[in-house]
């Protein structure tokens, strides 16, 4: 590298990458540290330094754990409903003879994903309306009694999961398709000739080869579910829904900070939430990698 000698070229790379680090320092690092400082204070207008008391309260706060439990429920919905359907559709689209129409189908499934969460929530609260909603009217044709989708705590999470499936199926189909593209059709054909049936081919060839992209997809699903805000908040008509059944951690933070002005407490929730999410995320990545190593 002959150009290493000039001083200009030595500084240049650092000047190019500087925007990221400046931006991070101002909009992430500083607020993160500042947030910790805020979380040590209690009170609304008169602030008192209370050490780690806010954290102790968060850990005992039933509503916080309720919001985390809702996060777990939504995560399960994503992992066991959205992702399997997405994989199934991706496998259908990935058939050689569908290849030419791949883009068309992808667009159909993908459009909900780029539609604003606000628009989606508004349309779905209309669909779920107890009296005049489309879903109840449709189910009524089969004699099903009208369901209080958004009023009964029993039905809010299923309602949310149906909406989330509609909104996030497309993006997950795309991710799976990207992974499937890297699996040569010849490999599947060879297994077919060797007498492996469709389920064996899926289990022993396709799924193991999809593992790297699955790590990413599952990680996204977990983080996305726990970070739920706009869709659930608007579906529940600006709140946590009946019996807090649609309360999610971000919503709880928002409520504590901007409705009750408890900035310290809200920051403490943010810290506990981030820490739990980081641990869950890292465990998940580790788990997937270990299984990778074993193979």
């Amino acid at each position: 590298m002959p150009f290493k000698s000039s001083t200009g070229i030595k500084i240049a790379p650092f000047l190019f990458i500087l925007p990221f680090f400046l931006h991070q320092a101002v909009f992430n690092l500083y607020p993160t540290i500042y947030g910790f400082w805020i979380s040590l204070y209690s009170g609304v207008s008169k602030l008192t330094f209370v050490w780690f008391q806010n954290y102790a309260y968060v850990l005992e706060d039933e509503r916080f754990w309720k919001s985390m439990l809702n996060g777990v429920k939504l995560t399960c919905g994503s992992l066991f409903i959205v992702l399997p359907i997405a994989l199934g559709v991706a496998l259908l689209i990935n058939q050689p003879f569908v290849e030419r129409r791949k883009g068309m189908f992808a667009t159909f499934f993908f459009t909900p994903n780029i539609t604003s969460a606000v628009a989606v929530a508004i349309v779905f609260s209309f669909i779920y309306n107890r009296e005049i909603g489309i879903l109840n009217s449709f189910l009524g044709l089969f004699g099903v009694e009208s369901i209080a989708w958004l009023e009964s705590p029993k039905w809010t999470i299923p309602a949310l999961i149906i909406m989330v499936t509609w909104r996030y199926l497309g993006i997950n189909i795309l991710y799976f398709l990207a992974g499937l593209q890297n699996i040569p059709h010849e490999l599947i054909e060879a297994a077919k000739i060797d007498g492996a049936n469709a389920i064996q081919r899926l289990w022993h060839i396709t799924l193991p080869l999809l593992r790297p992209i699955m790590t990413f997809i599952v990680f996204q699903a977990i983080i996305g579910s726990f970070s739920m805000f706009a869709e659930a908040y608007l579906l529940a008509n600006n709140g946590g829904g009946p019996n807090d059944s649609l309360l999610f951690p971000t919503m709880y933070m928002y409520e504590q900070a901007f409705r009750f002005q408890k900035f310290g407490y809200s920051s403490a929730i943010g810290y506990v939430f981030t820490l739990i999410l980081l641990i869950v995320g890292l465990i998940q990545i580790k788990l997937f990698q270990e299984q990778d190593d074993r193979r």
């Binding site: 650092f14 459009t111 779905f124």
Partner: protein, 275 residues
């Protein structure tokens, strides 16, 4: 051969049925915004308006400073997109063009920031912007989204395939480092930069939490927050919010059809393949 025909028919049929199911909410969204109140209540299962009317749109424009909020959202989203394209491309260039001390460590730091959820800074950022007098201005909804690790990663993926000889010959020809960036790196990685612009535009246009917290007056709001203020608990008005939702979805749908879904699809998948 009939077995294979049946197999194909089965796959196409299931894909077609599923695609149709996915269109249903859109059908009702568009249909309802042209429906009269009586139609909405009496024939909920018919997506088509029996007697199409523009009343809902007229009412919406009366209730909401629609165009102000529309252009607020546009201004914010375009600003975010432009800044994101410029700044992320600069950083991506720094990482893909040069070898320097601590490069790997620094890039790992960049990637590690993906792990930290945005909720972390919700409250402290609010307090910080309040101290700076930035509440009810566009800065807090534009600047934080301008640079992000995932976008740097996306552009670097594309820039990495630009042959190094091109950079070096530009240097020999006397081009400055910034000139090399502008004349060689940017044109050759326009696909990656374009996707970052698109994704940033959409993320900003569709964002709800940011505008909800930082923009409080009606004339500074974006449509995303504006249309949610129309939920009046005392009067059952189903059509206005849906009409607003319909109008809000249009810019992104236009973008999708103009730019082409192929571009979108390839861009979104690119992040996942190496991710």
């Amino acid at each position: 051969m009939t077995g294979r025909m049946f197999h194909r028919f089965f796959i196409y049929a299931s894909l077609a049925i599923l695609s149709f199911l996915f269109c249903v909410p859109f059908l009702f969204m568009v249909g309802t915004s042209f429906k009269k109140y009586d139609d909405i209540v009496r024939a909920p299962l018919n997506p088509l308006p029996l007697a199409p009317t523009l009343d809902n749109f007229i009412l919406l424009f009366q209730k909401l400073p629609f165009w102000t909020q529309f252009f607020n959202g546009m201004f914010i989203a375009v600003s975010v997109a432009v800044l994101a394209m410029v700044l992320n491309a600069l950083v991506a260039f720094g990482f893909s063009r040069y070898d320097f001390k601590f490069k790997n460590v620094l890039f790992t730091i960049v990637i590690a920031t993906i792990l930290i959820p945005a909720q972390m800074t919700l409250v402290p950022a609010f307090v910080m912007f309040r101290n700076w007098g930035w509440l009810d201005t566009f800065y807090p909804v534009i600047l934080p989204g301008a640079v992000s690790a995932i976008n740097i990663f996306l552009i670097r993926q594309v820039m990495g395939s630009v042959p190094r000889e091109l950079y070096e010959s530009a240097r020999v020809d006397g081009s400055s480092e910034l000139g090399t960036f502008l004349r060689i790196a940017v044109p050759l990685s326009m696909s990656g930069i374009g996707i970052v612009g698109l994704l940033s535009f959409m993320a900003s246009w569709n964002d709800y939490l940011g505008p909800l917290i930082f923009l409080t007056s009606e004339h500074k709001m974006t449509l995303a927050v504006g249309i949610t203020t129309m939920n009046n608990p005392y009067k059952e008005d189903y059509a206005s919010p849906i009409t607003g939702a319909c109008l809000m979805a249009i810019p992104v749908l236009i973008l999708l059809s103009v730019v082409g879904q192929k571009y979108f699809v390839s861009g979104l998948s690119a992040g996942a393949v190496k991710g």
